[in-house]
């Protein structure tokens, strides 16, 4: 299955891209995807950063299972306002 990953803010800069489509094995979780991505984009590992996870624009847990076509975003600490 394939998921679409969007990068924002510091993760976009670290990844060097705003979006990738990534192939995963069936049953993979958000955490699995993050481990894969860190292999492809080693700079994504920002020391001490605490991420939140969104799938299809809703916050989810890191152990949630992904599905084909999902839009996944790793959300660095927000700082709007």
């Amino acid at each position: 299955m394939k998921v679409r990953v969007k990068f924002f803010a510091i993760l976009r800069e670290r990844a060097g891209t705003a979006e990738v489509v990534h192939e995963l094995t069936e049953g993979a979780t958000v955490a699995d995807l993050w481990r894969d991505l860190q292999q492809h984009f080693p700079k994504l590992d920002v020391p001490g950063i605490r991420l939140l996870y969104a799938v299809n624009q809703n916050y989810v847990g890191s152990n949630d299972t992904l599905h084909d076509g999902d839009e996944v975003v790793f959300i660095p600490p927000v700082s709007g306002g």
Binding site: G48, P76, V78, G80, G81
Partner: protein, 142 residues
């Protein structure tokens, strides 16, 4: 009205939107770019968002406020891109029959925005730039 936009925010548009014959109070909150932060001389702030989710979260904040307090109407607009010193990055406007609800809801909204809405601020200061909240390594409060 729950929106992110590149253009400057028009306070009057929001106030007109929440104006209501049954409202006796309108509270607004305007977040502006300060010329200093933690000892740094700030030149500008540069905002980025995950826009579809940011607008969804802003609307969620509005719905939650409407459940908690007797408000009439609410609007939140957050600006994206560079925001110069003194300009507004976010404006909240909320109307209610009695003032307690408007005050409480506007306060609630700005606190929630800072906690849950996927918007990020890069501070451009004299000598560098930094994504706020990212360098500190502090856990994000949910």
């Amino acid at each position: 009205m729950f929106r992110v936009q590149d253009e400057p925010i028009d306070l009057n548009e929001l106030v007109r939107y929440v104006t209501d014959a049954e409202a006796g109070a309108i509270a607004t909150f305007i977040g502006t770019t300060r010329n200093n932060n933690e000892g740094r001389s700030v030149i500008a702030l540069d905002y980025e968002s995950y826009p579809e989710m940011a607008e969804r979260e802003l609307a969620r904040i509005g719905a939650e406020a409407a459940q908690k307090w007797q408000i009439r109407r609410m609007a939140i607009v957050h600006r994206l891109g560079p925001v110069q010193i003194g300009e507004a990055s976010v404006i909240i406007a909320v109307s209610s029959a009695h003032r307690d609800a408007a005050f409480a809801a506007s306060r609630f909204a700005i606190e929630e925005i800072k906690k849950t809405v996927p918007i990020w601020k890069k501070e451009v200061f004299e000598g560098g730039e930094v994504w706020i909240g990212t360098q500190s390594g502090q856990p994000l409060q949910r």
